[in-house]
Point group: C2
Chain length 321, copies 2
């Protein structure tokens, strides 16, 4: 253990960064010796959730989807002084990197592309995302958690075996808070937007319950969002009968992205409402193909450059069905 | 030409992205056939500045450092309607991607590491940065320009031959404006900060005129800033007698970064004051080794995770001298 994580604040730029030395110890596991494969359960911390074949014992083989604490956690519940809400403000004094970090192993076999994972497992993965978000919302200590997935080294993955992650922290990230404030209370701005977008040039594909669309200001060529057609603030409130439909749309979209953008590395991000939330929100899953590399201009100015209009990307994705 | 660049705005997230289809046509030139080598002048637009051997003709061989318009420009002066200040506000209506984009070729030979470019050329590169910023400040149409450098494909470079870029636009990026507002008028907060940092654990190396330090909230392991010890708002006001000293510090620091962080790809960013500026500012050069890959957590929340404290990075860089 290289040291407890801390948030560090730069009073000049106003920038806050989480410094997490343990993350540097992550082994880069690309290849046949994989800690996430069935039979290697001892290489991860004990599971906190698993969907298992009847009769199989915890932390042994026989699982289909498995959730474990992240061995190289960016944030930890024991990072500093005992947990004392209200959480400390993040300012000039270094703040303990309190939080949780979990890994969702998405297949017992060494799959590297989520779009190739068997459909029945995708349903169980989506279910595990829901269950872990529900768990931490009920726990009550965290203000915000995000489920996300990095596929491919170019998207930040250090292990190629299909997996996703959950990180939960004790404050709402300002970027998330700012979007909530923009959207405001009252009638849902996303519902209104979907009404006009649904039959427009940026729509990609639609099921009974979900729609995939390219957003108005995409950050990468091919950025696509999946949203529920009916209003819903929190991903973790998704009901059992909706899970199959979501898994179908998600996997269909990932296949389209793979075909249309030459099998790109990508990030998947669930943007759900913060846990203690009473404003309008409409959850979405963001898919960010890492088709370009933000460079000096973007890191210096905060201004992003994309090379493809969203209607062009949507046309490619529609044709890739 | 695939289409004029436009700023697109997402009224839901508040996000603005520059969509620049021409950028997608950039050839990836990694290898011996290089458009930036001496003798290939016809592969770039005509030069706007060059430091040349006596008697050599423009746009032919004989140059040492050469500045040309970017053939695959992210922004263009002819991107939309004729230039009519005051510039349009960026909002729901797509806004033309007005601006300038230039490339500074940093060596006639096929150098791929700026830290290996002969020192006399580094001085001329720094001079070219100054001259082009002075040119566009005097021009008066742009509000802001940034000089930056992407070294290595992992840092976003599409051509490996050493080069830097200038992009100028008609507004001050909100992230830059926010930092200016934080720092405020009156005594320079950076001068005050340097006073306490200079002899502290985050200082790396110092010359007569410049200092290299790791900032309080670094975004990547090894992020380092170079600042003038004496107060100065605008990089382009640097005087001739200071150029050699800056070139020495910059190249020394790049060698240290190469040694301490295993020859990383990196971005170099000049953070100078906006052109029409009457507030306090203190220019700096930021060096960002691309030692980690921002992934789903960072893209979803805007919160960065680093794996190394700034004093640890500074100790490595001091030892790498």
């Amino acid at each position: 253990m290289a040291g407890a994580p801390e948030w560090r604040f730069d009073p000049l730029t106003g920038r806050r960064v989480l410094i997490s030395p343990d993350r540097a110890d992550r082994p880069r596991r690309i290849g046949p010796i994989c800690p996430f494969c069935e039979g290697h359960e001892s290489e991860t911390p004990p599971e906190v959730l698993a969907y298992r074949d009847h009769g199989s014992a915890p932390n042994g083989p026989g699982w289909r989807v498995r959730v474990v604490p992240n061995r190289y956690a960016a944030v930890r519940l024991d990072a500093g002084a005992p947990w004392t809400p209200p959480a400390p403000a993040i300012g000039p004094v270094p703040t303990p990197g309190l939080g949780v970090a979990e890994v969702i192993l998405e297949s017992p076999d060494h799959e590297t592309h989520f779009c190739e994972v068997p459909h029945s497992l995708v349903i169980e993965v989506v279910t595990a995302w829901r269950e872990r978000l529900r768990h931490w919302r009920t726990d009550g200590r965290l203000a915000f958690a995000q489920v996300f997935k990095n596929e491919g080294a170019g998207a930040g993955a250090s292990v190629e075996h299909c997996h996703s992650q959950l990180i939960g922290i004790f404050f709402v990230p300002p970027a998330v808070a700012a979007e909530i404030e923009r959207v405001g209370r009252g009638p849902c701005a996303y519902c209104r937007w979907l009404g006009t977008t649904r039959d427009g040039p940026c729509a990609v594909v639609e099921s009974d319950l979900f729609i995939a669309v390219c957003p108005p200001a995409p950050r990468f060529p091919g950025e696509t969002w999946v949203l529920p057609l009916a209003h819903a603030s929190s991903f973790e409130d998704i009901e059992d009968p909706e899970l199959n439909d979501l898994a179908v749309v998600l996997q269909d979209l990932l296949v389209r992205i793979r075909r249309a953008f030459s099998d790109p590395d990508y990030n998947l991000i669930i943007r759900s409402a913060p846990f203690r939330h009473d404003e309008t929100w409409h959850w979405r899953i963001e898919l960010l193909p890492r088709t370009t590399t933000p460079a000096g201009w973007e890191w210096g100015t905060g201004e992003l450059i994309n090379t493809m209009f969203p209607d062009q990307a949507a046309a490619l994705l529609r044709a890739a069905g």
